[in-house]
Symmetry: C2
Subunit: 715 residues, 2 copies
Amino acid sequence: MQQPQARKPAVADTLQSNFSLDPLFRPRSVAIVGASERSPWTRSVKRNMGVTQFQGRVHMVNRRGESVFGQAATASCAAIGELVDVALLLIPASSLTAALDDLAAANIRNAVILSSGFAETGPQGLRLQMEVEAKARAHGITILGPNCLGFANFAAHSAVWAGTLQARSVVGNVAVVSQSGAVANTTNHFAHQQGVGLSCVISTGNEINFGIAAAIDYLVDDAATKVICVFMESVRDPAAFTTAAANAFARGKPLVVLKVGRSEITAKAAKAHTGALVGDDRVFDAICRQFGIVRVRSIEELVVTADVMAKVGPLRGSGVGLVSISGGLCEIAADLADAESVDLPAFNDETVAALRELLPAFATAQNPLDLTAVSTEQPILMQRVIETIAKDRSISLLCHLFEVPESQEDTSHFSLAALEHIGKGVAAAPGPVIVLASTMRAVSVSGREIIEKNSLPYVSGGLELGMPAISRALRWLELQRRRSTSPRGAVSGAATRGGPLPRSEFEAQQYLVQFGVPVVPTAFVRTAAEAAEAATTMGARIVIKIASKDIAHKSDVGGVMLDLHPEDVRAAFDGMLATVKSRCPDATIDGALVSPMRRGGVELLVGVKQDPQWGPVLAVGLGGIFVELLKDTSLRLLPVSQADVGEMLAELRGARLLAGHRNVAAVDVGKLAEVIARIGQAAFALGPSLETLEVNPLLAMGTRIEALDALVVGR
Amino acid sequence: MQQPQARKPAVADTLQSNFSLDPLFRPRSVAIVGASERSPWTRSVKRNMGVTQFQGRVHMVNRRGESVFGQAATASCAAIGELVDVALLLIPASSLTAALDDLAAANIRNAVILSSGFAETGPQGLRLQMEVEAKARAHGITILGPNCLGFANFAAHSAVWAGTLQARSVVGNVAVVSQSGAVANTTNHFAHQQGVGLSCVISTGNEINFGIAAAIDYLVDDAATKVICVFMESVRDPAAFTTAAANAFARGKPLVVLKVGRSEITAKAAKAHTGALVGDDRVFDAICRQFGIVRVRSIEELVVTADVMAKVGPLRGSGVGLVSISGGLCEIAADLADAESVDLPAFNDETVAALRELLPAFATAQNPLDLTAVSTEQPILMQRVIETIAKDRSISLLCHLFEVPESQEDTSHFSLAALEHIGKGVAAAPGPVIVLASTMRAVSVSGREIIEKNSLPYVSGGLELGMPAISRALRWLELQRRRSTSPRGAVSGAATRGGPLPRSEFEAQQYLVQFGVPVVPTAFVRTAAEAAEAATTMGARIVIKIASKDIAHKSDVGGVMLDLHPEDVRAAFDGMLATVKSRCPDATIDGALVSPMRRGGVELLVGVKQDPQWGPVLAVGLGGIFVELLKDTSLRLLPVSQADVGEMLAELRGARLLAGHRNVAAVDVGKLAEVIARIGQAAFALGPSLETLEVNPLLAMGTRIEALDALVVGR
């Protein structure tokens, strides 16, 4: 790790509270420091201010006080003599600290720094960045950047943006925040192409004192933003991020995240790119599930998902109705719905009867609904059908497949009439409707006019991207409904228990019992006689295990004997001790544990491990081949509630095993989740000195849940 | 099933051989029968002939001989008095048979019928369709349609097409064949938007005597076509389809298929749409693997996959190099590559050294390669980097992320210079390169000019769709290399053996032995004494199973006893018979089978089942939870070779179990595949009277492969 200092979590992700960020993102006046007609940055920032119709004051500042594009300049910010909300610093990295002094003198609290050449270039750049950070902290200046493109706030008509902006940008409700300037620019371009309106784009770059979490906090409060899109390489302040994510979810604003780092190769690439450590991707995936973050894998998915989520409000259920004028497109849509777990319920009888009235005899009144070619002669059918289906109680969202023409050439009388009728149908429909393009279509200026004229809830992303986006929206809305009606439940904020960690399997078992975790009856014995005595009361078959802090893998050294008759335990104890002593002559042997032998049921693995970035992470999996061959585990950050664990169990591919299987009884999943949550509680209470806690197996047989084993390892 | 007749496999999918289809798809003259200025079809077909620059003769025919758009018409085709290649019939369904007589009189061998109102509308339409079919057969007329949009042959500058065509269609190497007219039209539009050139679009509709298979055969021979795209609901002639697919693969033309019917809801929708039965989707999936068909799920995937495959020729390997000017985009690309199993190997030392020379010190010479912002100042870097990486032996395909500007607005001096240098790099590169847009981008007319000017192998589909498309192309090319170096191997074309099916488990086992399938030693015994005698030589533990044709589930009625000591077999035999007789008083009991008890190893399930559409299908799966809970089986049409079975085993999610696991030895997979292929051979030889043959379990322990059970059921 070349740049250890830059990556540690910042104490504070931002210096200002959310509302005081308005001067940064909705400035009334901007100073361009280092402004010059020869600078492409000055030109492009000026141009973009025009594109966003920025009405505030722009002050030019440069050393010589040379006028810029005919506008007089001052030699310093202090010399401006007016209140300035944001300073854009277009000056060499080496002059930055002096420039910040000037800002402080002018009482400017916000700066945008585009320049690269900081932490991302190596140790020297990192030193420079730390100097700037210290100076900003001393002056209380919030810095966007460095190594960023600035921001464009379309909704507020302001921009300090060095990327490209399209002359007639679509203003809308989707905000984009990105650690990468190029990705921010590409996302903006793609959204523009698709006619997806943005509220703002913020490029955070190296995040000296303003990062992703602060941007999310700001946008959750931003009335112009309905959906927040994030691109990130690394989470620099994990606690601030999860807090911001939880807040966004609680406030009902979807957070759609494209975070790279799924593959090892990406982790290497990210380190080369900005020195960022991407972290354990499976943990981040789990955090997304836990905090209701919608995770996507590409810019296309990011934009189309956000578009759908901005257009689909709260729904009463998850049933989707599909309508198209083509049978073939209905079928493609139905297959994609199936693949993406989007439910297309049957229409109810009333709807079917009403559709039969409307449609010709050879049409079939079913979901998905093929309007047949008749609709090309009677476009009013589309309006009637929307009105009819939207009344159906089993349909929570109606998706009408239709295209907005791109050019004069593909604009027909039919398509214009159809879109008008669809618009009327949408307006009259009691429930939510979206109009989805069959394939991804660019939205032209003339297309936008048609959309606006007919107030169409148009999603141009096409079926391939639109159907997964609908699925993500439905899942997120379900989670909103579920968590609002049955909240997560108590999560054990149990204070750290303090004191030493359990030092042996026996102590670990006793520790779990204190948290209400059922543990298999276990006797700690030191002699064969004690073992034999303990065994007599335990049942028909007995297990004995060696007890030694020095032996991690007991069965590898003959330290586990299964399925013993109670009368054989005495001899087995002696035999086991002899074997283990001969194989591990240096190990201190404390004695053995005696337990009844359990058979049948479903075995689970429950483990807690400290993640270097996120802290203690709970893993739950089904034992045997599920964990070993299929890597079928579910993760969550601690603390967790029983409801969280219920979601974890439902995620497992082998979840069906818990529902009973051949001669195995169905497991009481509620009780199982409760026991696992208690194990999590017990691990969480051990605090940061815990490295791992593992129960393997946790046996589940109907309503009997029992830890057969326990292991605690300190850091 | 409302329309049983229309769905049975046609005897012949087409009446003509491939080359004689040129008059249909490359006509020199077309007659429009029923032409009228008032008909929107006449207008749109005329317009589309203009768009494709059709240079042949167009004859107008209508009953009254009224001139059309100022062109004289005849009252019949026979009256034209010249050779006509294709007649477009724009006449009411009820007049069609008479019109076909007129065509025959004029010696016209090809007709396009757009009208709907046939089999897709119900029994009456079906009757009409069958009349037309009979008439066409009698006259030897090939019919495209009915219920279709015709065809547009861009490469041959001809069209009889009633859909919309863009004025400046891109001509290219991708052919599109579709059973749905709307899907054909939408696909053409999407390809146009993406700048993907098509050779032709063929809409087959109800496929009276010209179907998908015949279209594929024609296009395999079509020099203008490099990749064949297909949309279909149903396979009307399975044998013709697999033959055409095998031919396309052998000739090195990728066949990319979007077939609907994955979900039950789609199956219902398809039946409503055209009365088509979609068939068992898992079987179709298996056929795609078996015949090297690339299957996709949407129009976007269809077009982008075809685009990549048309631009990527044969490769020496599967290593991909990635280059971008943005670190963030590199990371998104690397994650997608990982998700889609696209290998991004490390550059070799020479490449790394050469890249270090070219790039600034803070850049990292790794794959994926972030050129850093330096490249915006020195676009020539892109050329040099392409030349350098393309020489690397571990890189078989280089993918350079870059966008072609869409509009004047996003055209910068930099982007034009960069694209010029990329073009030069591609031209100089010794290996294949594609230029991939970071996100899906529409290609404008000005964009096309830039692409052509710089001869860019540009894929506009973006990373989200482009990376899976690259993955599919790589897998298909791998399969081409593998099957050309080690062909499928002998597949048992064994003639049907004839004679009765094996009637009992014992006969089934003996039958398998004839095909070289190792079967566990088994004695058929009638008495307890025989059972005991057989058991003495068989080993330490014995299994006995009831032998009765009347009992299908032996263990349910106490008809299986496991793990017996040989000396206990006599008593067990008597006990088992008594139990079974009491539970199944009406069953005829022949005796019992005695075998040694096997333990350990990996259990597989091998089954053959007649598919109503495709014939005998072989299923292979791992026993236990893999089959029962995870439905983890692989399917193939019979006959299969050992190499086919090897591919099946590799597909299983639990395939790692075969590689050895804990105390289980690795299985000799070659031998296992051979035995399974022999089971397939045995089943195939039983001919159509077989309903199912099942070996469950087939035990695999190291090199010992042994059928422990066998069941044959006749139809």
